[in-house]
């Protein structure tokens, strides 16, 4: 079943055009990798899907499946998208001083539960729940008491993003350069964590410019992205070709 369908999407930030007719389709259960050179606008693409206010969509549409109907995602606010299962693991997670990771995760999770008419989790129940998720990512418990991303190393921040993903169990997960800043051990832990979160009901879009993340999370499709749109689509072998030959052969 189609989860996300993007048709001829154009978007700009300030006066700069960043998407120039992007077409893209994702079905439930699939993993897509989007690869492209630095500065090609891959991050812009992910922020537009999540609804970052700095971007303006000038043409095209983004359809997203909600309750078996394709809905116009662009009409939803940032938090509504999140509550409907769109999740962006950010390249540069933001620090929130004075707010504990635990409190933030609980608020976030309860906001989603409430949206779906479910009963909110008490502090105790949530603590049990979140500790299970932390095991998945081999995170220490004191992580919960620290302020959100404050004083975290680059790798800790990325792991924290995946923890949020594990807690919220979104349907459409976009991982924006989650591999950057991770050493090889962390990369393995994060990769395995993400694999455990894969299911036939969710879809994952990996944005990266290295093959190495794909050694851990095997994609169904690899897309080469440049100049505001997808230039070429293939299987995992396309990533290997990129690894060997770089992006120059595309030009």
């Amino acid at each position: 079943m189609t989860m996300l369908e993007i048709k001829n999407l154009h978007a700009k930030i300030e006066e700069k055009e960043v998407l120039k007719g992007l077409n893209f389709k994702v079905n439930a259960g699939e993993v897509h990798a989007i690869m492209g050179p630095n500065g090609s606008g891959k991050s812009s693409f992910s922020k537009i899907i999540a609804g970052h206010p700095a971007y303006t969509v000038t043409a095209g549409e983004v359809l997203y499946e909600i309750n078996f109907k394709m809905k116009n995602l662009l009409e939803l606010s940032v938090d509504e998208r999140a509550k409907e299962g769109v999740f962006l693991a950010m390249q540069y997670p933001i620090e929130v001083p004075g707010v504990s990771n635990f409190h933030f995760l609980q608020m976030s999770y309860n906001a989603v539960l409430k949206h779906h008419g479910s009963e909110e989790f008490s502090e105790n129940d949530f603590r049990i729940f979140v500790k299970e998720k932390m095991k998945l990512l081999q995170m220490r418990e004191d992580f919960l008491d620290r302020d959100v991303n404050v004083g975290f190393s680059g790798g800790e921040k990325k792991r924290n993003e995946i923890l949020q993903m594990a807690v919220l169990s979104p349907r459409l997960c976009i991982l924006d350069e989650t591999d950057s800043g991770l050493d090889i051990d962390s990369l393995k832990i994060v990769g395995e964590g993400v694999n455990k979160l894969r299911s036939k009901n969710n879809a994952i879009i990996l944005i990266t410019h290295y093959q190495r993340l794909l050694d851990f999370i095997r994609p169904d499709f690899v897309h080469i992205y440049a100049d505001g749109k997808i230039q070429q689509t293939g299987g995992p072998e396309l990533a290997l070709k990129l690894e060997k030959q770089g992006y120059d052969w595309l030009k």
Partner: protein, 477 residues
């Protein structure tokens, strides 16, 4: 008598007026009025003399205008200086109060009847100009703690009042303090004897109800050698179109090894969205660490009033004494706040800490103003100051006016200040995790204030967080 009318439009839930018979004095201020107030309160001669002396001094003073706030001139002759709920008969206990008053305080979340009383906190309740009663008097009496209205203290403990009233804030101190000394009608008095840890928290709740009435309460708190007290203060007022003046004076005295923790959650009516009405909160609060190793801390959450103008200060007289000031000031719509502290180091090795968090939203102005003064006698004094401001939206203002005067070379001072604006990226991050805009701003602001909130007693801290959340919900979005 009719039910309390709710004039609130949903955003200030304390904005209702209690319809109650009151006893008032005519508008205006002159010696005759002061004599009348003193007479109504059946005061001794020395008290009347104190008032008249203050009044005569006040007449020679001019209204100060150095604060970073603007407002229309106050006509001091157009105010009433006394308003008290009428007592039909002599009251025996709080339960005998006018049911309308009991209902009012229930609505304010301060239940006064025995079965519903907040456990662990003794409350003195001041309604307009007078104190209407205290709770938990027996527990306190057993410990030897005196906790009563200042009117009662003037009658029953004249020696203590005479000795300490005006000893920290003299009548000549400033325009509003002089006015308060002349016309104060009630307030709380508290004396903690030597070596006593006050068994329960003490609290004063101030409520302005009557219109065109100024509220001038006076609080005097003395902690004798080696004693400890936790003191809380809350305040609300009805929603009215005209401004109302609140000019209180609070004096704290800590003897050797005594400690006073004084916390305020100030939620006077702020005025409406266009900036009409609201309380002018012009207050003088000062503590004196008179004894060695004494400690006074002021913790305040200033979330109300059209204009707040106050600087809870500490005179660090005793050697090794310590003063602390923790403040959160939130302004929204057209509110203005000019608040901060003064730390005056006189004794040796005196220490002070200042932590101020200002949050401005809407068209409001928030200023921190502070003075740290190290006198020549204050060998090895230390101060740490941190003043942070957070701006929410493009039309608000935050200012910091730190003054430092050092007259002893052995002093160590540190000062940090930051100003930040909630960024689009911060909001996007929180919203992309399912929190809506108001929840996101509220979370950021609460995080920003956390260091101050954790200094508040638990139940007050919960109240403060809720108050800030509610205020933000109504002012941003």
């Amino acid at each position: 008598m009719t039910d309390s009318k709710n004039l609130g439009q949903g955003d200030y839930k304390y904005g209702f007026v209690t319809d109650i018979e009151t006893e008032e004095v005519p508008k205006g201020l002159n010696e005759g009025i002061i004599r009348l107030i003193s007479q109504k309160k059946n005061e001794p001669e020395w008290m009347l003399d104190y008032r008249l002396k203050a009044f005569r001094h006040w007449q020679t003073m001019t209204e100060p205008h150095w604060a970073h706030v603007t407002y229309n001139k106050i006509d001091f002759q157009d105010l009433k200086y006394y308003s008290a709920p009428k007592n039909k008969s002599e009251k025996k206990s709080l339960e005998d109060l006018d049911p309308e008053l009991l209902k009012t305080f229930e609505r304010l979340g301060i239940p006064l009847t025995e079965q519903k009383r907040i456990s662990g906190v003794a409350v003195d309740v001041v309604f307009d100009s007078v104190s209407i009663g205290q709770t938990h008097t027996e527990v306190l009496e057993k410990a030897g703690v005196i906790f009563c209205s200042i009117s009662e203290a003037i009658q029953k403990h004249p020696d203590l009042v005479k000795k300490y009233l005006g000893s920290v804030v003299p009548i000549s101190d400033n325009f509003y303090a002089a006015l308060n000394a002349a016309v104060f009608t009630d307030g709380s008095f508290c004396y903690i004897p030597k070596g006593v840890r006050c068994p329960i928290d003490l609290s004063t709740y101030f409520r302005i109800n009557a219109s065109e009435t100024g509220q001038f309460e006076r609080t005097l708190l003395i902690a004798d050698e080696g004693s400890f007290v936790n003191y809380l203060e809350g305040c609300t007022a009805p929603q009215r179109d005209e401004n109302q003046l609140h000019a209180a004076v609070v004096e704290l005295i800590a003897m050797d090894h005594a400690e006073i923790k004084y916390s305020t959650v100030q939620n006077w009516y702020t005025g409406d969205k266009q900036g009409r009405g609201g309380i002018f909160n012009f207050v003088t609060k000062r503590g004196k660490c008179a004894g060695a190793h004494s400690k006074i801390s002021w913790t305040q959450v200033e979330a109300g009033s059209a204009i707040t103008w106050k600087y809870p200060s500490v005179i660090l007289l005793g050697d090794d004494s310590e003063g602390l000031f923790y403040s959160v000031a939130l302004t929204h719509d057209y509110m203005q706040a000019d608040t901060g502290t003064k730390m005056l180091h006189i004794g040796k090795r005196t220490k002070s800490t200042i932590l101020s968090k200002g949050i401005a939203t809407g068209n409001s102005k928030s200023s921190y103003r502070g003075l740290v003064k190290i006198m020549p006698s204050a060998e090895k004094a230390r101060n740490y100051s941190q003043c942070d401001s957070m701006l929410v939206g493009p039309n608000c203002q935050a200012n910091t006016f730190p003054y430092i005067e050092v007259k002893n070379k052995t002093a160590t001072l540190e000062h940090e200040a930051t100003t930040s604006r909630i960024s689009e990226d911060q909001l996007f991050y929180l919203q992309s995790r399912g929190l809506n805009k108001e929840e996101s701003i509220s979370l950021l602001v609460n995080g920003f204030c956390k260091e101050v909130f954790k200094e508040l007693p638990l139940e007050f801290s919960v109240e403060a967080v809720k108050l800030i959340e509610m205020k933000l919900e109504n002012s941003v979005g």
